[in-house]
């Protein structure tokens, strides 16, 4: 029998061994696909804490004849940054309660008589906020907004008052005092209107380079396919090796069987990896196919090395599962990398799942760790060499037993 024919037979036979029971590959494929897709929205929802805030509508009332609510609505309504989270509606007392009950406003701010002049005098006038009893969060958020706005207003008014006092104490002419008041008002208004310039927004990501959804999807794909490599353990069973070793008596070496087993498990694992990666990355390219094959080859080589190195199927399976779990944790597949302890963040480059993340990031045109890009093919080659050596040794031992 030629080597090629023996190799193709060995591959086919190994593939049959992997696909028992018949429904298993299909079931694993569905699980890989569904779970990889489910990981992303779950992680997003958990990390955002399900929080959303769409802003509040604040009704403002004052005693009859007081124009402050209308002035507030006019001036504050022009401020774009304020409009993003708070709309101000001037109301009279009768309208206020009805609007609150109907849910048209989140709360009603009731200003006392001569509010502005009281603030200007340096008093601390009490304002009241009318809220709905059954909406405590809305009420507390409005109170928070109101408190900040009132503080801002009070600080400005007191500052103006202090300048007025200082100018009077310095004995300035009334024209100079008016000029001073105009200047201070203008400076405060300028600062308040442009207060957002005091802040620089910086967006932080809980994960490294990949978008959140892809980070979790790819990491879980790595874990699931590493676990699925457990099936390849069947190909390195002692009984099976003993049977195969009989072929040596008819002049065949171990190479065809080893590479047959590796090819079959690589095809099987590519069958699981490629659709999951495709679904998570939402695109397919020759690079992605190559990556799926390389990853499957890595998983197959790791499984071969472990099952040939360790005595018994259970030990190999348990170690492979623990390795997959460790890879998942270290690559930020459970807690996001930002929340991992620093020592684990340092070690994350050792996780095979991080290698898959980096390679996928490169394919998606995102920055990737150069070390991780080289580690995947390098470790695969080392594992293949190790597994081939171990297989040859076990094959020889199997022949002796046969």
């Amino acid at each position: 029998m030629s080597r090629l024919r023996l190799f193709s037979r060995a591959t086919r036979e190994a593939m049959n061994a992997c696909c028992r029971p018949r429904l298993l590959p299909g079931l694993l494929l569905v699980l890989c696909l569904v779970l990889s897709l489910a990981a992303a929205p779950t992680a997003e929802k958990l990390l955002t804490g399900g929080v959303s805030f769409s802003g509040i509508t604040l009704g403002v009332t004052a005693p009859e004849g007081d124009e402050t609510p209308a002035l507030l609505a006019e001036y504050l309504g022009k401020m774009q940054d304020l409009r993003r989270y708070c709309a101000i509606v001037p109301l009279d007392d009768a309208q206020a309660e009805q609007s609150l009950e109907d849910g048209q406003v989140t709360a009603v701010l009731s200003l006392p008589e001569n509010f502005i002049s009281a603030v200007r005098r340096g008093d601390n006038p009490t304002v009241s906020l009318l809220v709905r009893r059954d909406r405590p969060l809305d009420a507390l958020l409005t109170l928070w907004v109101g408190q900040s706005a009132a503080d801002l207003l009070q600080t400005v008014q007191r500052g103006v008052y202090q300048v007025q006092t200082g100018a009077e104490a310095a004995g300035l002419s009334s024209a100079a005092q008016d000029a001073a008041l105009q200047t201070i008002n203008l400076r405060y208004i300028q600062w308040v209107a442009g207060r957002s310039h005091a802040f620089r927004e910086v967006r932080l990501s809980p994960v490294d380079t990949l978008p959140l959804a892809q980070h979790y999807g790819i990491t879980l794909t790595a874990y699931l396919t590493l676990c699925a490599a457990l099936i390849a353990g069947r190909l390195y069973d002692r009984k099976r090796l003993t049977q195969l070793a009989r072929c040596r008596s008819v002049g065949q070496g171990s190479g065809c069987f080893f590479w047959g087993a590796i090819s079959a498990s690589t095809v099987f694992l590519t069958f699981l990896t490629l659709p999951a990666l495709w679904a998570v990355c939402s695109s397919i390219s020759p690079g992605l196919v190559g990556l799926a094959v390389l990853w499957a080859l890595f998983c197959a080589a790791l499984a071969a090395a472990l099952f040939l190195l360790l005595p018994g199927q259970s030990a190999g399976g348990a170690i492979l599962f623990l390795l997959a779990l460790a890879a998942l944790v270290a690559a930020g597949g459970i807690l996001p990398p930002a929340l991992l302890p620093p020592w684990l963040q340092e070690l994350s480059f050792l996780s095979p799942a991080s290698w898959l993340q980096s390679c996928s990031a490169r394919l998606l045109g995102l920055p990737a760790e150069a070390v991780n890009l080289r580690l995947l093919p390098a470790v695969t080659a080392i594992l293949l060499a190790l597994a081939a050596g171990l297989y040859a040794a076990r094959f020889g031992r199997g022949e002796a037993e046969a």
Partner: protein
């Protein structure tokens, strides 16, 4: 009946299961402790001050901590970690030369507002921080205006108290207390225990399946059905496991969910029996084992509501039914029991049909 008790007693003699009683609470205790955080405000904001200066700003800011927002002083690394991880809504990072810049009248970008995936209330935080910044900076503006006019700043520079806003409800009754998903931790514990029991059910099926193939079991199976031989073994395996799970729930403060573990266990027992009686299924079990906890956690509402496009379908998963029973759904437990009974009947009938 004597055969049942004989096999049951023989299986129970194995003491390894005692480990379950110790291991299960030990596995779950860290999760429970991590989740049992003290009562905090719904919005948490981290604040990192420079080494020098910024105390007045912090004093003004901390006065705004209350029922809805809590400002937490911390260092930069922790601030970035907590905000990026979504634990805090956002963070305020003051420039190192914050005090100097205020003196020089340069407030442009003097505070970095760190936003993470959980940032929702940050516009409100920015308003509060702006109010506090102005409170610190306003005297400088006033002093500069007075200096331009050749006047001296007054010695008793103002320190305004926060404006007093009184909250009243429409009906006059006090506000209802905030309820912020307080049961999440207990629900997660219940879900994790159920996931572990599901993994155990597959291990039990594997054990019973392999045991049925040994000599002693084969000889008994010749006289009785395989189901009659496997059931006592499985029951003996389940008894300590379910007890350990219920005890764990009790220890971790989720005892109210223990009762609903019983119908779920009956269903799992039926699944184990069904799998154990079909030797062709056994090789698939080790391969499926690592997938089971992920399926339980992601496809059932353990962490969050099911968010796949088929939430209605996922509601009928056994784990989802167990959690629904925990949530008080009256139909979930009977559905689990009926499904279990159906599976057991199927397994037994199939076994009887195979016997000559």
């Amino acid at each position: 009946m004597s055969l049942f008790f004989r096999i049951f007693a023989l299986t129970l003699r194995k003491r390894w299961y005692l480990l379950l009683f110790l291991l299960l609470p030990m596995l779950l205790l860290p999760v429970s402790q991590k989740l049992a955080r003290p009562e905090t405000a719904p919005v948490q904001v981290g604040v990192c001050l420079p080494k020098e200066g910024g105390d007045a700003f912090w004093q003004a800011l901390s006065q705004h901590s209350g029922q809805v927002v809590e400002f937490i002083r911390t260092d930069e690394a922790d601030l970035r970690r907590q905000v990026a991880g979504g634990r805090w809504d956002c963070g305020l990072l003051l420039a190192e030369d914050f005090a100097l810049r205020l003196q020089e009248g340069d407030t442009d970008r003097c505070i970095r507002l760190l936003l993470g995936p959980a940032s929702a209330a940050y516009p409100l935080v920015r308003e509060t921080a702006a109010a506090c910044l102005l409170r610190v900076y306003a005297p400088n503006i006033a002093a500069s205006v007075l200096a331009e006019l050749g006047a001296r700043s007054p010695d008793d520079w103002f320190t305004p108290e926060p404006v007093d806003i009184q909250t009243q409800t429409l009906s006059g009754a006090p506000l209802q207390p905030l309820s912020l998903a307080g049961d999440t931790a207990r629900r997660l514990i219940a879900g994790l225990v159920a996931a572990l029991l599901t993994v155990f059910s597959l291990c039990a099926a594997l054990d019973a399946g392999h045991w049925l193939q040994n000599g002693a079991a084969q000889r008994i199976s010749a006289l009785r059905s395989a189901a009659a031989v496997a059931l006592p073994r499985l029951t003996a395996l389940y008894l300590p496991a379910v007890t350990a799970c219920i005890l764990s729930l009790w220890v971790l403060g989720a005892a109210q969910f223990g009762l609903w573990l019983l119908p779920y266990s009956v269903f799992l027992l039926a699944v184990s029996l069904f799998a154990a009686l079909r030797p062709r299924l056994l090789p698939a079990i080790p391969a499926l084992l690592p997938f089971v906890p992920v399926c339980c956690v992601l496809l059932s509402p353990v962490l969050t509501e099911a968010i796949l496009p088929l939430p209605e379908l996922l509601r009928f998963l056994p784990m989802s039914l167990y959690l629904a029973a925990c949530d008080g759904s009256p139909a979930a437990a009977p559905v689990l029991l009926s499904a279990g009974a159906l599976l057991m009947a199927l397994a037994t009938l199939r076994d009887c049909a195979k016997r000559p």
